[in-house]
């Protein structure tokens, strides 16, 4: 699997460490006085694990050491784009490969099979 690091270009997946879904909103910390246990339980452990394209955090550990968000299909491993994690949450997200929100034929096939 090749991952298009926004800084380094196409690199083998062995250089990266996957760090989970980027789409899940991070709960408020709340502090020790008011910890939001159920919200953090959901955030940390209960994921949808959809068979489709996902935005996922990856750390380019054996490379430029950037945190990036990769758009990957969980069944086919098709990667259709990546962006810097710092830019992912900005309102005006930069274009990745231009197909970030487009579903691939493989994704549609997977959905049809469910």
């Amino acid at each position: 699997m090749l991952i298009p690091c926004p800084h380094c270009g196409l690199r083998p997946s062995e250089e990266f460490v996957p760090k989970g879904l980027a789409e899940a909103p991070r709960p408020a910390l709340g502090g020790r006085a008011k910890p939001d246990g159920p919200a953090w339980q959901n955030y940390l452990h209960l994921r949808d694990n959809v068979a489709d394209h996902n935005h996922e955090y990856f750390h380019h550990a054996l490379g430029c050491r950037s945190w990036i968000v990769v758009h990957r299909h969980t069944l086919t491993h098709e990667v259709t784009g990546a962006t810097m994690a710092a830019d992912f949450w900005k309102a005006d997200k930069p274009a990745t490969t231009g197909t970030q929100d487009a579903k691939s034929p493989a994704a549609e096939t997977a959905e049809d099979g469910q």
Partner: protein, 201 residues
């Protein structure tokens, strides 16, 4: 900076000047007299790592150009220089510059940290270097122009590469990994023959 005369070599006891591995060059030598790979480590290299604060990359490069006469272009890895190697987004390893001079140039646009004791530079060259990289580095040499840096790994040891010439590369490795990298390099290059050059060369 620490007195170099009392520092132990970060490359370990196996890194000794002279010939290692097979006696003759596999290819490209002049009658087999020359080793397929030549390797060099010069101790005492001044290394300063700089990193721009968020949103200050362009301004920091302009300040470095003004203060240190280093033109880092658009900040891409392809715009690296032999003594200013891009190791990440808006991050560079500068060699041969004093920390105070770099700090003065960068100002409050970024951070500068002395890595002279933290990074080791190994230089390799020779006709068989592509053969060595084929089994130690995941990068495609055909898409790697001369003068470009790449943050990647050497035999799964994280490093920053810089391509000096068609067959010449610099590796910047963390000091605590350098001994392992040096031993792996000698072992991996043995089939081609490797000549470890004296630092005075």
């Amino acid at each position: 900076m620490m007195d170099q005369s009392v520092m132990r070599s970060p490359l370990g006891p196996h890194w000794t000047p002279g010939h290692h591995g097979t006696a003759a060059a596999a290819t490209g030598g002049d009658g087999g007299a020359q080793a397929g790979i030549r390797a060099l480590h010069k101790p005492g290299l001044l290394v300063v790592e700089i990193a721009a604060l968020p949103g200050k990359g362009k301004a920091m490069r302009a300040a470095v150009k003004k203060g240190l006469k280093l033109d880092l272009g658009d900040g891409s890895p392809a715009a690296s220089l032999p003594n200013a190697v891009c190791s990440g987004p808006d991050r560079y390893l500068l060699t041969g510059f004093d920390l105070a001079a770099v700090k003065a140039a960068v100002g409050d646009l970024g951070l500068a940290v002395d890595q002279s004791s933290g990074r080791v530079r190994l230089s390799i060259d020779g006709a068989n270097v592509p053969g060595l990289l084929a089994k130690s580095c995941p990068l495609d040499l055909t898409k790697w122009p001369v003068g470009m840096s790449q943050a990647s790994h050497f035999l799964h040891i994280g490093c920053t590469w810089y391509r000096r010439s068609e067959t010449g590369f610099d590796l910047y490795i963390g000091r605590s990994f350098a001994r392992s990298a040096a031993e792996w390099l000698i072992e991996s290059a043995a089939e081609f023959g490797v000549e470890i050059l004296s630092p005075e060369d």
